[in-house]
């Protein structure tokens, strides 16, 4: 192939997916190594392909996976040349001609193509991040306020333990239009064996709180709820966390352990 005859977009897409037979794959690789036009188009397609890896349903890690990894790491020497480096254009060129070009290209992902394309999404994400910051602050304050409000009943919380441990906190980002909700909490108190934490969406229209997922903290007190099944289009006034019996509840049981207003 020559630069006069560019690789068809369909071929490039298949190349990005590693879905071409060996001979065709080699041909595309050879052309792309020489042709910046196709290289750029491929990079864009690789960006699209990489998105697929994000589409998979997220599963919790098998129990003990973290410990197993850390144990192996503790027993594993690192290589001598552990330098985190920024690739120069020169290195990149070398890679174009190497056998592993397809993976290299596969990882030229979001920038060349999608950076431009995903710019808008990034902006949205940035807005979300700003909202998140606000919500984080709100949640921290809500936690503090709740501590005050529930002080009479909080006989098990001694002054020393409150100082020895960071306060529990949570943060949520919510897109009413899709019913998408992501929640993270840290410094949570350990749960009794027969209990779970439960997240709630408090609708702005005053209707009953909507259960938005059960979660239990890990050894470090962290937990998250990612995209629970909740109705689409519910305007939220606030979010709350309660402790419930292990199977969860349809209505929240007081006290509210964490709460935060859905800032606008």
């Amino acid at each position: 192939m020559t630069e006069q005859q560019h690789t068809a977009q369909e071929e490039l897409a298949l190349f990005a997916l590693q879905a071409l037979p060996k001979a065709e794959q080699d041909a595309v690789r050879a052309h792309v190594a020489e042709c910046s036009v196709c290289r750029e188009e491929l990079a864009r397609l690789q960006g699209d392909v990489a998105l697929l890896a994000l589409s998979v349903e997220q599963h919790p890690l098998p129990a003990g996976a973290r410990e197993r990894l850390l144990e192996r790491i503790a027993n594993q020497p690192q290589s001598a040349s552990n330098v985190v480096h920024i690739e120069s254009g020169k290195t990149a060129k070398k890679i174009y001609s190497s056998v592993s070009w397809s993976l290299a290209a596969a990882l030229l992902i979001f920038s060349v193509g999608s950076l431009l394309k995903v710019g808008q999404l990034n902006m949205k994400i940035q807005q979300q991040a700003e909202q998140l910051k606000q919500q984080e602050q709100d949640t921290a304050q809500a936690t503090r306020a709740l501590d005050v409000l529930t002080a009479k009943n909080a006989q098990h919380i001694t002054l020393t333990s409150a100082q020895a441990h960071p306060e529990p906190e949570g943060r949520a980002v919510y897109l009413a239009s899709t019913g998408g909700l992501i929640f993270q909490a840290s410094h949570l108190d350990p749960l009794p064996a027969d209990k779970t934490y439960e997240l709630w969406v408090i609708p702005a229209d005053g209707k009953a709180p909507i259960p938005a997922g059960l979660f239990k903290p890990d050894a470090t007190g962290s937990a998250s709820v990612v995209l629970p099944q909740i109705p689409v289009g519910v305007r939220a006034k606030a979010f709350g966390v309660t402790m419930e019996a292990a199977q969860g509840s349809k209505t929240p049981t007081l006290p509210i352990l964490l709460a935060g207003a859905a800032g606008e």
Binding site: Q9, E10, A13, L14, L17, A19, L20, D48, A50, L51, L52, A53, L54, V56, E57, H59, L61, P62, A65, R66, R68, L69, L70, R72, I73, Q78, S79, N82, V83, V84, H85, I86, E87, S100, S102, L103, A104, L107, L108, I109, F110, S111, G113, S114, K117, V118, I125, Q128, A129, Q141, A142, V173, G180, Q184, I202, S224, L227, A238, I256, A261
Partner: protein, 202 residues
């Protein structure tokens, strides 16, 4: 009742707004680059943090391809061990460790699934992504978006794309399996990727 109880708290919040103290940075908030530097310096805690950040994603990708929790964990362990042994092989200057790990996991898993030798050495992977997947919120939003797009694709487009990406089939194998002409398969995959791109842009 719940909402009523919440109201005084929210009011309190509003009257107090501005009085919060900024949260202090911890290792959990460190950037991928900073963490990789710590990993290169042999700090296991940094590795643990990276694992907490991306372990679930890598595992989920491997599980989707291999459909076997044991093999998926083995693969995940291998990917992270590799990162521990040779963190310099990810060139962090340009981008997203999360995307890199996800694609490495996919490619490795497909190799395992198809009984192939690793087709692409990890050490020559370049990543220039600016997409920050290190924040779970952002990752979650993007995942949600991609998933929604996938669901809306015509069934045969979705199927072709999944056979290629998650099962590592060539276009000829896909054509054989679906009984469609090669050209049709090619077009479908191209259109499906196009839709995905368009939707993420939107």
């Amino acid at each position: 009742m719940f909402a009523k109880l919440l109201n005084p708290i929210l009011k309190l919040l509003r009257s107090e707004s501005g009085g919060t103290t900024p949260s202090t940075g911890t290792i959990a908030d460190a950037s991928d680059v900073a963490l990789l530097e710590s990993v290169a310096a042999g700090q296991q805690q940094a590795m643990a943090t990276l694992f907490d950040r991306y372990g679930g994603m890598v595992y989920s990708v491997a599980l989707r391809v291999l459909n076997d929790t044991g093999r998926a964990e083995d693969l995940m362990q291998e990917v992270f061990l590799q990162l521990w042994r040779e963190p310099g092989k990810f060139s962090s200057g340009k981008g997203s460790l999360g995307a890199w790990l996800a694609v490495v996991a996919r490619n490795r898993a497909v190799d395992v699934l198809r009984g192939r030798k690793p087709s692409d050495p990890v050490d020559e992977v370049i990543l220039t992504s600016k997409m920050d997947l290190s924040v779970e919120i952002e990752r979650g939003l993007l995942m949600e978006k991609v998933r929604a797009v996938m669901k809306e694709l015509p069934a045969e487009q979705q199927r072709s794309l999944e056979l290629a990406f998650f099962e590592g089939l060539t276009h000829a194998e896909i054509a054989q399996q679906t009984g469609d002409p090669l050209g049709t398969v090619k077009t479908r995959i191209r259109s499906a990727l196009g839709s995905l791109r368009k939707a993420v842009e939107a």
